[in-house]
């Protein structure tokens, strides 16, 4: 087995049939094993009958492999992909409302927004609503800077991820899953 006992960020992309209860079927497997989901993002795909779920968890490689194997057993699951580190691109979308009393604060915030290529999407007398897209490093850094001004509220989509290169998650049919899980031959 190649699994190391190190706790790292594990990303699982799960393609599912849009059937009743599919989200609870998927998340249940994590809670059953006592694994904490750090983030969860769900959205439809180019096929309206199919959704893609991205789950981030802190765990060992073995934990991710076990969960992937269990996920593969669920009827509505089409394919499961474990994404690691540089193999994939990660993005998240964040909206935040910050206090912006007075011109100084406003100018300063707008400067930071420009540097981060974020966008101000709403302005009111004493606050700004900002939207930003990026990988975790970028969004975290931005949120940290904004918190100095006073965060009023924040909404995050959670990370979504996609493997680099020509491949598709659809290639990982249930037959190929065996090889994805580090078959030992």
């Amino acid at each position: 087995m190649s699994s190391s006992a190190k706790l790292t960020r594990q990303t699982l992309s799960v393609l599912v049939e849009n059937s009743a209860g599919v989200l609870s079927q998927v998340t249940r497997l994590f809670s059953r094993k006592g694994y904490n989901i750090e983030s969860l993002a769900v959205g439809t795909t180019d096929d309206a009958r199919v959704s893609r779920i991205t789950v981030i968890l802190k765990g060992t490689d073995r934990m991710a492999e076990q969960i992937a194997a269990q996920l593969n057993k669920l009827m509505p699951v089409i394919s499961v992909q474990i994404l690691t580190g540089k193999k994939a691109i990660y993005r998240e979308f964040v909206m935040l409302k910050v206090k912006a009393d007075g011109k100084d604060a406003r100018d300063e915030i707008m400067q930071i927004v420009n540097v981060f290529r974020a966008a101000i999407v709403d302005i009111s007398r004493s606050s700004l609503m900002i939207a930003i897209t990026g990988d975790e490093e970028k969004t975290e850094a931005f949120i940290k800077l904004m918190s100095d001004f006073g965060l009023i509220e924040i909404a995050r989509t959670g990370l979504i991820a996609m493997e680099r290169g020509d491949g598709s998650i659809r290639d990982l049919s249930k037959d190929r899953a065996e090889y994805e899980l580090g078959k030992s031959i």
């Binding site: 087995m1 209860g21 492999e65 057993k73 089409i78 899953a177």
Partner: protein
Amino acid sequence: MKLSGARIITECLLEQGVDTVFGYPGVSIIRVYDELYKKRGKIKHILTAHEQGAAHAADGYARATGRTGVCLATSGPGATNLVTGIAAAFMDSSPVVFITCNVDEALLGRDAFQEVDITGISMPITKCSYLVRSAGELAGTIREAFALASGGRPGPVLVDVTYNATVEKAEYAYLPKEEHFGRGRSERLMRRGEKVLTQPETDIRDVKRLAEMLKSSERPLIMAGGGVIRSAGAAETLRRVCREHGIPAVSTMMGLGALPSDDGLFLGMAGMYGSDAANRAVGQCDLLIAVGVRFSDRVTGDAGSFAPGAKTVHVDIDRAEINKNVLTAHHIVGDAGKVLSLLSAELKGYGAPPWAEKDGDRELSAPERIIKTVEKLAPGAVIVTDVGQHQLWTCRTFGFSRPGQLITSGGFGAMGFGLGAAIGARIGVKDTPVIHITGDGSFRMNSPELATAARYGLKIISVIMDNSSLGLVRQKQAAEYGGRFYQTELAGGPDYVLLARAYGLRGERAENEKEFETLLSDMLRSGKGGIIDCITDKDEMI
């Protein structure tokens, strides 16, 4: 042809060749019962005393026959009464299709009378649970449910049908069972589920590698689990592999019967209550080939120090079992029987060095002598147990000779499993005696199922090992809790002899071994089933 949903359900049962269902009616499922009435010449419905009994019966039927069991219940409490039965079937990979009916779709989610989210409740204890809200989805869903229950690693599947879906009409066309695959509710879903539904294709390179590992090992050992029992023909192949190549074997509780107990190479059951020879062999082997097991904690103890000197090779039909509990050196995904015959082809001319020895004859305890008497008088009987000391004595002492001979709630350990499961087994197998070995605690849990046995004239002999206590728990209190026997003594219970007679069954009491032997042999000969209340000492320990 436009048919009501209820009718479609019964047509689908006929498509599957179902001739027996177990269940309990209620108003939500009444339409289905009305259709079953019209088909009563083709489908026999067994009414139990409690839905739990029906669930265990359908499970016992499946285990005894290898066919998929079917169990029906109404909404709300009818459905929740199934839960222990579903879980017991799930843990031991027994194929059962549960069909429940729910309230009208318009009332779902409004806490209507007898409404419960049984699909949600049963999610963790089924291979899949479906909620069907319209008659049009019924045929496809039920076909898929049957395919799923028996395909791959077998297990229970639940289909919950809203009342309106049983009433409304939908197009139905007969489809022979062979054509169901790939034509289900959603073709795509079926195709995707291929791996789950059918037997995964075994990679021959994996088998060759196992053969190499075997040839270079000095002390190889096979551990057979429930997978060998569930896979058709696997036990026979295993016997051949062991004999031809001289490989010794042990089994788990669920694997008992895979090898005949008197086979010179079979060392007994491994694990917490297993035989010395089996556990010694697991400790000493250098190659452990585990076939169709899930490495239960009752078998491995501390998984980290299990079979410390061995490379472990895991053969299982369920990929998710690999490396779940025990880290393996190599694994093969596939059906136990198929993998074993592929292996046997690779091993031509190979003979394992002889190294493991069976236990010599040991002195049996009094309760074990009762089990031996059962074996002596009815060696080929189907043995159904409940859960407790009596179960462990049975597993340790009875010489099982064929797969499916032992029916026990190994994984879930559900007291109360036995009588219902014995009813299912009795209906499933014709000419073999069915003997239910139980404890007084377990028996009390579902003893009303005596009514079912009486109603259908089912000859089941319940041997109650009556120690007036919850023996297995009491034994722990003796060993680890300073003899503080709390809530484990059952003195003052009912008179089981009279209880059986009240149901119109035979009730007998055996105060000693001699009496037991006389009574059992008489009961085996006579046409009527019932109970033998076999008085045992509560201080006996396993």
